[in-house]
Symmetry: C2
Subunit: 316 residues, 2 copies
Amino acid sequence: MENILFLLGIDEDQQLDFQQRFPQAHFTFTDKTSVTKEQLAEATIIIGNPPVGLLSDQLTNLKWLQLNSAGYDEYLQPGVLPPQTILSNARGTYGLTVSEHALSLCLMLMRKLHLYLRDQLSHDWAREGRVKSVFGSRVGVVGLGDIGRNVATRFYSLGATVIGYDIDSEIQLEAVAEVRPMATIGETVADLDVLILCAPATAETHHLVDTSLLNQAKADLILINVGRGDLVDTPALIAHMEKNSDFMAALDVIDPEPLPKDSPYWDVHNLVLTPHVAGGFHLDKTKELFLEIAAGNLKAFFTEPAALQNVIRRDS
Amino acid sequence: MENILFLLGIDEDQQLDFQQRFPQAHFTFTDKTSVTKEQLAEATIIIGNPPVGLLSDQLTNLKWLQLNSAGYDEYLQPGVLPPQTILSNARGTYGLTVSEHALSLCLMLMRKLHLYLRDQLSHDWAREGRVKSVFGSRVGVVGLGDIGRNVATRFYSLGATVIGYDIDSEIQLEAVAEVRPMATIGETVADLDVLILCAPATAETHHLVDTSLLNQAKADLILINVGRGDLVDTPALIAHMEKNSDFMAALDVIDPEPLPKDSPYWDVHNLVLTPHVAGGFHLDKTKELFLEIAAGNLKAFFTEPAALQNVIRRDS
């Protein structure tokens, strides 16, 4: 019998649903702050993200780890998982919530709602002048994974022309007019009105947005980062924004995180910050999406293991 | 020869374009604060909104008035225009800008950006909890004119189910799952997550949102008003919001306008205010859309007067 250890909080109805769908397994429901070494040692399947510090390659019972995150880098470190453990991630879970967050940040800047809210706080009925529209804009989307594709689809459906950047420039998507190689972004950024970062932190994306790229971009570019803080050279961005008063940016992720209370970045003109909340389980639907993926993979595990989705290669 | 008086500021290239397209006419370009009684008396065609106080039914030269607004009520008052003058409005101009404003306000509330901006102002890296999504929401759109249709299309394309309310409940639109008679809104509002007001101020829409309707709605309804302030009984709304902390609203129009500096409405929890900027010419594309309508109607005037668009009935 499989011992399935659930490490994310789900309500009793959801627990019962899993127990009824998979009567051949024994379920333990806890969370990652309460989980014990003993529970991890007994588990044959883990659903959720266990603390890396509690894992080891001595967990000989562990057949499969289904993460609730899209990111998985830390679980590939040597000694974290036994060699036989299958690792899968939560690709498909976060595209909806992250893309709606990116869209809301972009529209907020385009309609100057960050300025109107300040006016409201000071009781000022004041017009803030020109606005922009998603309709008719040229929008660059960096990273065409699940999140980037969701972002592309939403902007396309609102009448934007979407240009994708990806390491795989052969990708073809209805919502994306053109896919450019990631490495060409510096040379080609000049024709974009909006640039949305949706890529993971890798060697190729480290400080993708730097002084050189910013100097090639339109002076009134709108930059949105819902990927990783490491994609942006933050001091370079701030210096650029101080010289270009029409440049706008909204960062849900920033280097460093959390941003210290005395950071001058909080007060930069036309810079909007949110505290890494685009993803996570802030949207109920996101947890539903993850549970669908987990249930689908559990079904595959018991009936057709070759059909497991989102399996991460561990052989590199 | 027609004397065409332009009452909205357009740049020299745009002026030249009109002069070249309609060489049979004489153009005067001014604006509504500078326009003189003499210019109005000489005009056979006016493009733009002249001050009602300068008009009279003695302007015997005036054949046609092409407004740059969607609203036209004040020009129907007795004595404002001579009986022979054709009146047309700017329907088709404002759907884009108003619908993107409505969407940006809705997303701002759903993602709690109005709270995150306050946190940013106080340098707080703080999570504000649950968010909502347009995807999967049931969105009521009140008024299915040009603006309401644009709103419906955008929310539908993002995965919402759109319910329309209109005096004409026979309207059929791909983006609208169901059209309900305007008068039934009180009985049917309970199944909506979002309610967006896009209707003009008429006898049917006066205080459409009142205590009775609010008491039928979900406690966490999101209300957006980009129509007219008169559609909402403002004191009733404020009283309701003070009792229901999960209710959110964003009002671009409000009764009264401008909102006085000492109004308590500025500080209501989960109420976002913008100063009647959804429409107007804040978006460059809006003026382009109006000039296309004006040019199309000028062409019709000179070649096929029966094809004039957006003509308002004056016989009532």
